[in-house]
């Protein structure tokens, strides 16, 4: 007990330079804007979505001696897909129906919250959000639950969607100031996608933004977005229109579906929208992380948004206005006729799902999916857990116009990490991972890329060339995106594998 108290004081002192700050409840907005080395206060680690850490204790030279600090068993059959938050020395992470608070130094369980049995899809839970002493969790059956970060006791619970209609939730909320922003999931029904914002203190609803007009459906908001405090815009990816594999009832581009949208977090007003897959008929959500980077682009300093999208295209946008700077494939793509004047792929009608089948690349799982990429500012590389894949897509009138409305069958796939130079879209290096990719990516300032392969190996690669520096077999599929933090002068790297969270660190005294 005493040790815990002492170490807390130590963290407060580091964060604020004064132990008296310990009365404040973390994380506050200042922490979310500028997270320290001893914190990982949002799903992506910070608002940019770069999933890049400034930590340098673990280097390409010493990473070979990386060893286990501790392992935490959730005892869940469900895979960890969550990115653990680190706030004030405690890690907060989730699987569907469960939230865990675990000591980041020792792996000791501080508390475990369980949500009652329910009918929502339990396909995955990406994690929680934190703000001023509360932990925010989304249940499979579409409830936003606020927990006391100290005890795991429920503070309030509000319904954000109707599970009986076919909505569920799987994402980690995003907190900006007093706004807790959430998105919804759902693919089997013709439903409107939306985002909502709730008061962090009371749970009172602040606004709702619908992806589609009242007479259209789709555009689910599956994944956690990013935020630019200067522009005061939140960036979010939206999912496919419905019905999924046929567009007979939904002619046109399907505005704001398979798109990257920019919203004002105070009002929910749409600032701009860019369609990555106009008129989608292949289930290619554009919900992959909209990564925010600043830097030169063709000689000019730009505020950019980059995304490796599920449809096989890498896009660079000017995030002040949503205009395209670059669109180019990063993985085999055979469904497009090229780009339109706005830099959007033009779908080839001959590659729409058909009664006798169409061979399509990528497959439905996409050239990448929910797993996080990472941007390394030093090299200008976006490292993407990518797949090269082909499948056959079918749809016929008898399949109707509700929900899936067709079927697709994967025929072949290969996992390939791809390092994309944001300035050109060119692939700098590739690293094969087996039959598929399962893990997200973390890069660090020392030039290391942490990830995993299809064979359950946790991997450390050299960011410059993709060569393997370290590995450890974890014994189960790695479905998480790694995170890192430093406590008591030691850097830790977390990888979830199956239902187990592994914390890696260097042996004491390693140089």
């Amino acid at each position: 007990m005493m040790n815990t108290w002492k170490s807390k004081v130590c963290v407060w002192t580091l964060a604020f330079g004064s132990a008296s700050a310990a009365v404040a409840q973390l994380p506050d907005q200042a922490t979310l804007l500028h997270p320290g080395a001893d914190s990982w206060p949002t799903y992506h680690g910070d608002y940019t979505g770069q999933r890049h850490s400034k930590l340098t204790q673990i280097t390409p030279k010493n990473v070979g001696s990386l060893t286990l600090a501790w392992a935490f068993q959730t005892r869940s059959q469900m895979e960890l897909k969550s990115s653990p938050l680190l706030v004030d020395g405690i890690l907060y992470f989730s699987v569907p129906d469960s939230v865990f608070a675990v000591d980041a130094r020792s792996g000791h369980l501080v508390w475990h919250y369980t949500y009652p049995p329910n009918k929502g899809s339990h396909i995955g839970q990406r994690g929680v959000a934190a703000y001023k002493g509360s932990i925010y969790f989304l249940s499979p059956d579409c409830h936003l639950v606020a927990l006391d970060a100290k005890t795991g006791k429920e503070r309030w619970r509000v319904e954000i969607g109707d599970v009986a209609k076919g909505y569920w939730t799987s994402m980690a909320p995003l907190v900006v100031g007093n706004h807790v922003m959430v998105g919804v999931s759902g693919d089997f029904d013709n439903l409107r996608g939306y985002m909502k914002s709730f008061d962090a203190e009371t749970g009172k609803e602040q606004w709702t933004w619908y992806s589609t007009p009242a007479d259209r459906t789709g555009g689910m908001t599956w994944m956690t977005g990013t935020y630019d405090p200067d522009l005061n815009l939140v960036y979010w990816g939206t999912g496919n229109p419905t019905p999924v594999l046929t567009a007979v009832t939904r002619p046109g581009d399907g505005a704001n579906t398979c798109s990257i949208v920019a919203l004002n977090p105070d009002t929910g007003q749409l600032a701009w929208s860019f369609s990555v897959s106009p008129h989608d008929t292949h289930d290619w959500d554009a919900t992959e992380v909209p990564v925010l980077i600043d830097g030169p682009f063709q000689g000019q300093q730009k505020k950019m948004l980059i995304q490796a999208s599920r449809n096989g295209y890498f896009v660079v946008l000017d995030r002040t206005n949503g205009k395209s700077l670059l669109t180019t494939p990063y993985s085999p793509v055979n469904w497009s006729l090229g780009l339109d004047k706005d830099g959007r792929p033009i779908p080839n009608p001959a590659k729409d799902p058909a009664p006798d089948g169409r061979l399509i690349a990528p497959d439905e799982g996409g050239a990448t999916n929910f797993r996080s990429p990472s941007f390394d500012p030093k090299t200008g590389l976006l490292i993407v857990p990518a797949r090269e894949a082909y499948s056959i897509y079918f749809s016929k009138p008898a399949d109707g116009t509700y929900g899936w409305s067709g079927a697709d069958y994967g025929v072949w796939e290969k996992g390939v990490l791809k390092a994309i130079d944001y300035r050109t879209g060119k692939i700098r290096w590739e690293h094969e991972t087996g039959v598929s990719t399962t893990s997200g990516i973390l890069t660090t300032d020392s030039g290391i890329t942490f990830t995993g392969d299809f064979h359950d190996n946790a991997l450390a690669l050299n960011t410059a060339d993709g060569k393997t520096l370290w590995h450890a077999n974890t014994g189960a599929m790695i479905s998480t995106s790694p995170t890192t933090y430093e406590l008591d002068g030691r850097q830790y790297v977390l990888t979830g594998s199956g239902g187990v969270l592994f914390a890696w660190t260097l042996p004491e005294g390693t140089k």
Partner: protein, 268 residues
């Protein structure tokens, strides 16, 4: 969002499943059931309801809410395995062991497995009663031209380099039909790679590859023994002729595929 799951179970009898399914799901089928079938017991309805709940939580993402196929997972209502399943004897095995690279194993209680299987069988019966729906029928895959398929097989497709219509592919259309045949044709997922390993001692061994990552090679020898080595301690070659299929993907037109299908379907 890629892994799948099936279910398991053990409903009473397939025949019983048929009317249970009709009675729980579709209004149209319900009328039919009321006229022709014995009343569902409250116990069976409760079991299907519980199975539905379990299915929505654990299976629906991949197999669809109605078991008719979803994101990456096959349509279970048309599954041969489900059709042949009695008391969960087939589905249970898949659920407990999973499918490598496709579906994780699930450790369910026998009551949960029973309930989920009851739900799947009910959905299968319902789908049968309702007629037109998702899925690929053999009739759908008859748009190709046999002569052009044969020409492609022997020419541009380069199929004849490895295959022979009277040799390894003789009667292939008897063994596989419809979508199954097309999937095998595009890429034989079950094909195994062979490895030949030269050990530091100079001894040469060969077998079927079971593990091959950046760090290890593991093979099964002809007598069933498993052996593995760090890849940097051995010299080895891997023979995977089926990978030639993947090289064709960027070159196929959809017409090539349909024509090839038409030709292969003549090899009975």
């Amino acid at each position: 969002m890629r892994r799948v799951m099936l279910l398991c179970g053990g409903l009473a009898v397939a025949a019983a499943a048929a009317w249970i399914g009709e009675s729980v799901s579709s209004p149209r089928a319900e009328v039919h059931a009321a006229q022709a079938a014995p009343a569902a017991t409250p116990e069976m309805l409760a079991k299907i309801a519980e199975g539905s709940s379990q299915f929505q939580q654990k299976c629906s993402f991949c197999h669809g809410r109605d078991a008719g196929g979803g994101e990456t997972g096959p349509d279970l209502t048309r599954s041969k395995l489900v059709l042949e399943d009695v008391n969960g004897n087939k589905i249970g095995e898949v659920v407990r062991t999973g499918r490598a690279g496709k579906m994780p194993p699930f450790d369910l209680s026998s009551a949960e497995m029973d309930a989920i299987a009851a739900f799947i069988h009910a959905q299968q019966a319902k789908a049968k009663a309702e007629g037109g729906r998702r899925g690929v029928n053999v009739e759908d895959l008859q748009t190709g031209n046999v002569a052009e398929g044969k020409a492609y097989f022997e020419g541009a497709g380069t199929c004849a380099k490895c295959h022979s219509a009277t040799g390894d592919l003789a009667h292939i259309a008897t063994k596989y039909q419809g979508l199954q045949l097309e999937q095998h044709m595009l890429y034989p997922r079950d094909a195994k790679s062979k490895a030949t390993v030269t050990l530091p001692s100079g001894q040469v061994v060969s077998g079927t590859v079971q593990l091959h990552d950046e760090f290890f090679l593991g093979i099964v020898l002809a007598d069933g023994t498993y052996r593995s080595w760090p890849v940097d301690k051995i010299k080895y070659t891997i023979d995977a002729p089926h990978e030639a299929h993947a090289k064709l993907f960027p070159h196929y037109t959809d017409a090539d595929i349909h024509n090839l299908m038409a030709y292969l379907q003549t090899l009975r």
